[in-house]
Structures are given as C-alpha cells and as structure tokens.
Symmetry: C2
Subunit: 479 residues, 2 copies
C-alpha cells in the first residue's frame, strides 16, 4: 500500500507504462507467457468502451452474434494472403477429449474464415443482403514480444463482418465504420485520431484496402487504434459466399471486417497519463468522481461521513459514477495518491470545515495542485460535478490535440524527416512506391502510419526518392 | 421461406427441439463437430439474459473481470477431484507460433484453477476480503453427444468466483447466488425452478457442496439450469490462497463458484415452446411485439404503413422492444407463422379496417387462435401493450408451474416411482445413501436432481431401501 512513485515518463516511458498498468490494477500478468488478466478496474473501463461502441454499431444497423473459437486449420489456408499473414501466429489444438484429432483446430486469430463459411450457408438471395454482424470476443495470436494491453497472446476485441451486394456498398460500410471509430475515439476517449488509408505493405492479410485510426502516444510513437478492411471479393471467392441477384444471376458478395481491441486501453493510458499515473476521460471512467472524507476526531468522522454518504447518494441518483472511499486503514493523502494513480477524473474532498460551510472541494485530475482545486457549495453539487466532468473531457482532448500538433512535423527534406520521427509524426509527400516505404523503415524504424483521408491537395516530391507525389502520408515509429 | 411445420412435441420432442432452434434462427451448427454458432436472434436473447443477471450480480457487490482462456495443463492437476472430473474433457493446445510448447496448455473448461492462482497473488490480508469477481466468457469441454444450447463443446456462460475469510461467509455467498439464479429464472424467464442441494455423486468436481436450480422440461425431463458451489478450502489449499487475519495469523480462504450458461436458452425453449415454435417470456424477448401490416391495394398499403410506422415509433419511445415487419416478399400469413416460430410474445395486426377504426388487434403468442385476440384502440396503445406483456409473462409462469405440479409425483412405493420418472419428477424420501441413488439410476435412468431447500419436515422411508429418512429429494430423467 506504500509503493514508491512511478518512474517519470521522461525517465523511462516503457517502465512508467508497465508499472502504471499494474499499480492502477488495470491488468496483471497471467501464468501463461504473454497472456493477460484484465482486473476488475480495467474490465470496467473495457465495459464502458464496449457499451459506447456497441450503441454506435446498433445505431448503424448491426447485430451481435457469436461464432466458435475453434476453427479447422484448413479454413485458414483457403484465402492465400490470409494464411501467409496468420500461419506463424496460430495456437493449435491437436488433442481433444483425450484423443488426437484427425484435423488440428486453431484458436481463432480473427474470424473471417469461419464467418465466411457461415455466410455462404445463410446468404441465398439479394434479399438476404446486407448481412451486418458484429461479435465481442477474444482471439489468440502467438506474439513473441508482448506488453499488457498493447500486444498480448490473447486479447479482447470486437470484430464486425459484413456482406454486401455491391463493391460500392462494401466500400461505404468500410468507411462508415472508420467514421464510427473516429467518433468514438474523439468523443468518448478524448483522443484525437487521424483516420486514413494504409499502404499495401501495412494491409490486413486478405484485404483490398485497410483503413485505420492512428493516435500519437506520449512518447512520440504512433499507435493504430482501430482498423476497417474492405475485403473485396477475396473471402467471398475463398468461401463461396454468393447470392442470386434480382435478374437471377449468381454473384459473389463483397465483404468487410473491422475491429477495435483492448489495445485501445493502452492508447488511453499513453495519451492522457501523467507522471502521477492514469488519467481517464470522464465518459469512459469506471468512477468519474471519488469522494474522500477527511477528519481527525471521532466527532468529525461522524459528521463528515454522514455528509459524504448523503452527497454520494445525491451524485449517484444524478447519474454520476461516484465512489465513496471509506477505507479506515488509509489516510486522505494515501487515498489522493491512490485515486490519482487510478486516473479518477475528479476528486471531491470533504472535511469538517467544508461540512460547516456546506461546501466541498473539487480537485481536477488533469490539473494537479492548487490550480485544479475549487470550493463549491453542496447545493446543486451534481450539476457542478457534471459540468466539471464535461470540462475535463474537453480539456483532455484539447491537450492531446495540442500535443499532437506540437509533435507533427510537415517536412520536405529527408534529414528533417529523420529527426521528426524521433519526436513524433512526420507528415510528408510519398510517391506511393513500396520500395521507398521499405527503405524509410529500414533506415529510420518509422513506418507509414496512414495516408490521411483529409488531403490538402497539391503536388510535391517524395520525401525519399524525390519522385512526383500527389498524396501526403504520416510516418512514425509505432507500437 | 416455406418450410413444412415442425414435428409436434408429442411426435418427437427431440426433433421438435432441433428444428425449432434452427428455424427460429437461434443457433446453427459450426464446422467443428459439437460447436455452435449463436445467430443474432439467439445472441440478442442471451444479451438480455446476461443483462438481467449482470444487474443482479452488481447489486450484490460483484465486479466483472477477464481471466485468460489458456491454462497450463499442470494447473488442472492441482486439485484432486477437479482433475478427475475435467481431464477427460480437455482441449489441449500443443503448438503455438509454429513450435511445440514445452508444457501443453488447455482451453479452460472452467476457471477455478487460474483464478485461484491469481487470488493467491492478490489476497494478502483480511482487508482484501471478500473478493467477489464474475466473468462472462466461453469455455470448452470435449463432449461426445452434443445438442445445440444443451450440450456443446464450447458454450457461453458466466462464472463467479469468490474468496472469503470464513466458512460461514462462503456458505452465505453460495446460497445468495442460488437465490439470485432462482429470482432470475422466476421473474425474468418465467420458469418455476426448484432450488436445492445436490447429492455427493452429482457435485461439481472440487466442491464440498453443490446447489442447483432444477426445472422441468416439456417432455417430463429435468434440466439443471444454474449451479452454485461451496468449494470449502479445497482450491485455497491447492493454490495457496491465504490471508493474514486480524490477529496476524495466516489462514486459508474459503471459496465459491457459480455459473449459468447458454444451456438456459434450452430450458426456455423446452419449458415454454409449443407445436408452433418458440414462446419467449416478454422480459427476455429480443422483440416483445411485432407489428404486421395487412393490406391489398396500393392505397391501403400507404394508409396502413403510415399508421404502422407511427405506432412503431410510439411503442419504441415507450420502451417496448418492437419490430415492424415491412418485408414486401412475404404475406401476412407467412409473417404470422414466422414470428410464431420465433416466439415473439405479442403480435399487433393492423389492416385497413383497423386504421379506419383507430384500433389494432393484439394476438397473444401464448394463446393461439381467436381466444388470444383482442381489438384495442390505438390511443394509449403502449400502455395496453405493456399491460398485455405483463399478463403474458405471468401466464407463462403460471402455466409452467401448473405443468410442473401436474407432473410431480409424491410417491412412496418403488413401483409408482418407476412410472413417475417416465412422466416427470418423483418427489420421494431418500436415505442419503449413494448406493441407493446409484441403483435407482441404473434401474430407471433417473438421477437425483436435488434435495430441495424447502423441506416439509417429518420422517419417512427411503424409496428404494426403506431405510429411515428425514429428507425428501427430487428424482427425474435429465438433460
């Protein structure tokens, strides 16, 4: 209960992250290498993420279902790029019920294949289209270098899988879900993201186009926070997903898939966190406010506790997710530090003087020290808290956006590019040639994060080869 | 779209069930033997079940978390009864990332072991207790004879795992969760269940006591619909889950676990369904009401559609989960049959005459034909629908309870017992001797379902051996 402080982000960003995850009790290491236990506090955060996304999926006409976690190994091989991409990462079940299986099964690394198999069965006519299904589950990819939330053998996510009659509809769906992810990241997580198209080298194994939202972390590295794939007819052809069109002709469907995972929690930590620990955006925080009673004598204790319980009740009734910390073996100072580590956006302090004045002190997590403290009257506290939470939500977004702008470098010389990707995002013209992209990666460790949807227009010269270019792209070192 | 009718329950109950599951589009067979695809309609039902349970778990102080699906094989062996119970059913991962693993991993058949391992790490002092964690996930058990929802290799469930300082607290938790399941089954699913204690032979592998809720299906067989286990100190000792008590002495914890699975959907089908298909209890139904517009001419179509859309909007705004069936390639008669198959509790028919009279016809799914139809005015429709849904919910429960009473036989002669378990539940005195229980099973295929919590008192003679007995038990053939 009396851990030393975290390393600062400047000292050791990676170790700051690792210790924060453990000490905020978001997650823990599992007995199987590379696997993760998501602890109740981390899972409550994930539940809020899932609720915010699920509501958006349903509002855009999607329904949830559940496909099995075991897939015949032969399924993975049916789509050529897919097998090349996923084979090295598979967990293979060879025995079941005490016997060796005739055909090995794999634990799903993603579900395009098994869902493709089902869609082939379910879809007969154009009247059955579109099929718009999502599922919430976990998948397993045998990663070698793992880090809690960012890259684990098993991770939690949603995977949407849709089938359409036309290429245009599939493309519209792909972009719609990219927009849904962008809206979620911005409005719920207060993370400014760049929606864009991936280069061919960075595409999902089996996709014609992959789109992603990219975010900048506190150490200047980028993180892909959600992806949306236009799969063309690749899986439709591999799994015979066909429909009779209105003229009675048999056609292949056009499919998409899109996913966002527990990796997003890593983004929240690395975008908003500070040297005291986690800072959660109010709209996703398991506890939006924590009430800490302060007292010395028994008489004070009774008085303060009574008022604190009443205020907790009022706030909860008004829909604020509030925690009253009544631990009797921890000092107020310890509690302050503890809830700062856990990133609760707003602390409400209540001592004998506050009780006497019918007031409380609000302390904002995003503004440490006196600057973030305000005394407010108890009457109408719920409204004041709601307003402050909105302000914090906006302030977190504004700060993250300012930080990203500060670390985004529109450069045109390769020397400047090299120093840009040591600090953040390089925003440059690129000729579209994979060879340039590969050479940049080899020389600078920076990858092409995305070709942003919003293009300023104009022409320029490729940052590496100087060839003519009409599109700008973001490059960065990435998680 | 023009399937023949289901077989009747009297003709072939098993085939009635199998076809109903497929044709109501609740679930489908997966490419891996014994696995199940839960289709969107079935998953929406499961989502309503999870919401109703999750709200009860949280109200009783539990939080959710997520533990990995991969468990070192050696973990399973740490608790002696557990390994004996689960070893034959394991799915084993021997290869990962293209290499043979040093130690094989199993896909969780249940999570006592991996959670025990974590609790040992997390729990230090009496102040850390109780730990009250639940998780929603899927588990894999290598079953040989499978049936959709009732017994599948992979199934979905929740598993609660708690740790306590004293035996009394663990027992109170075990019984509290049995009560939660009973309350859920009765109030949400309209299924009268019998909460009771299992005999030693029927206990969970590793439990000191297992409790269950038992329900009677439409074919007179029983189904265990949820279980709650008092694990004593068995897992605490196997995994060293210990705490320092207030006196500073190291003590083993007392643990419990409890679960309810997608099997419960099987119970809903087999308790409420009729020869026309599924009947869903309104509180859990994905769609509580379906609006079917009826028209012949284009003019009628416009008039009726307009009114139907307005009513749909009003009902949705009032919180009714309502579906407007605007399919233009299906007749009203087809739609009636289709939604009857899918068990929507209430049909709202709207034709030109209804529009003219500002009325609609409500048709109750639980009362086929004219008897279940009422014309009601459109003004205040939402209130009339809500009231009717409440009535249906209650009527389903009443009918199921009457059916169970009709098929429950309090008998005292073994000859009567044999005929009782061919029709339903035998309610008899049992001496408590495992040998009697085993002989009964061998001779009649009936198992001891539970020793009900509510005992009438008094003494009697064991149904088999005639030995003195103070407790009554339910015996039945079971799923």
């Amino acid at each position: 209960m009396s851990d030393p402080k975290l390393p600062t982000r400047a000292e050791d960003f990676s170790e700051w992250y690792n210790q924060l995850v453990l000490r905020a009790e978001l997650a823990d290491y599992a007995p199987v290498r590379g696997c993760m236990i998501v602890r109740p506090y981390g899972w409550a955060l994930w539940e809020n993420i899932t609720a915010a996304l699920d509501q958006r999926f349903k509002a855009t006409g999607h329904v949830n279902a559940a496909f099995p976690l075991l897939i015949p190994q032969s399924f993975i091989a049916k789509e050529q790029s897919h097998v090349a991409g996923f084979s090295p990462e598979l967990a293979v079940v060879t025995h079941g019920g005490g016997e060796k299986l005739e055909e090995p099964l794999v634990i799903r690394p993603t579900s395009e294949t098994i869902i493709g198999h089902s869609y082939a069965k379910w879809i007969q006519s154009y009247r059955d289209l579109p099929v718009l299904i999502n599922q919430w589950n976990s998948v397993v990819r045998w990663e070698l270098r793992t880090k809690l939330f960012l890259r684990t053998l098993e991770f939690y996510w949603q995977e949407g899988h849709t089938a359409h009659a036309t290429a245009a509809e599939a493309q519209a769906e792909t972009l719609q879900m990219l927009d849904v992810y962008t809206d979620f990241a911005v409005r719920e997580a207060a993370i400014p993201v760049i929606p864009g198209r991936k280069s061919a080298a960075e595409r999902f194994a089996g996709a014609n186009e992959t789109y992603s939202i990219e975010a900048l972390m506190g150490d200047g590295k980028a993180l892909q926070a959600g992806t949306s794939h236009n799969l063309g007819q690749n899986f439709a052809k591999a799994f015979e997903i066909r429909y009779l069109d209105q003229a009675g002709a048999l056609q292949y469907c056009w499919t998409t898939s899109w996913g966002l995972s527990t990796r997003f929690i890593g983004a929240i930590i690395m975008v908003h966190g500070d040297d005291q620990g986690l800072i959660l955006p109010p709209r996703l925080a398991p506890f939006q406010a924590v009430l800490v009673p302060i007292f010395k004598t028994d008489a004070e204790r009774q008085q303060v506790t009574e008022a604190a319980r009443r205020l907790r009740q009022e706030l909860a009734a008004a829909g604020v997710r509030v925690k009253l910390d009544e631990r009797d073996n921890a000092s107020p100072g310890f509690k302050f530090n503890d809830w700062e580590m856990r990133g609760v956006p707003l602390r409400i302090e209540l001592g004998p003087k506050d009780v006497a004045k019918n007031s409380v002190v609000l302390a904002r997590r995003d503004r440490p020290g006196k600057e973030g403290k305000t005394a407010v009257v108890q009457a109408g506290l719920a409204a004041a808290v709601a307003r402050t939470l909105d302000e914090i939500q906006q302030a977190l977004f504004d700060r993250a956006l300012a930080e990203r702008r500060r670390k985004t470098f529109a450069v045109s010389a390769y020397g400047e590019f090299k120093s840009a990707v040591e600090q953040g995002l390089a925003y440059v013209f690129w000729c579209g040639n994979a060879a340039c992209e590969e050479k940049i990666k080899a020389e600078t460790k920076a990858t092409l994060r995305c070709i942003p949807m919003e293009q300023e227009g104009g022409e320029g010269r490729c940052i590496l080869c100087g060839g003519a270019s009409r599109e700008r792209a973001y490059f960065a070192r990435a998680y």
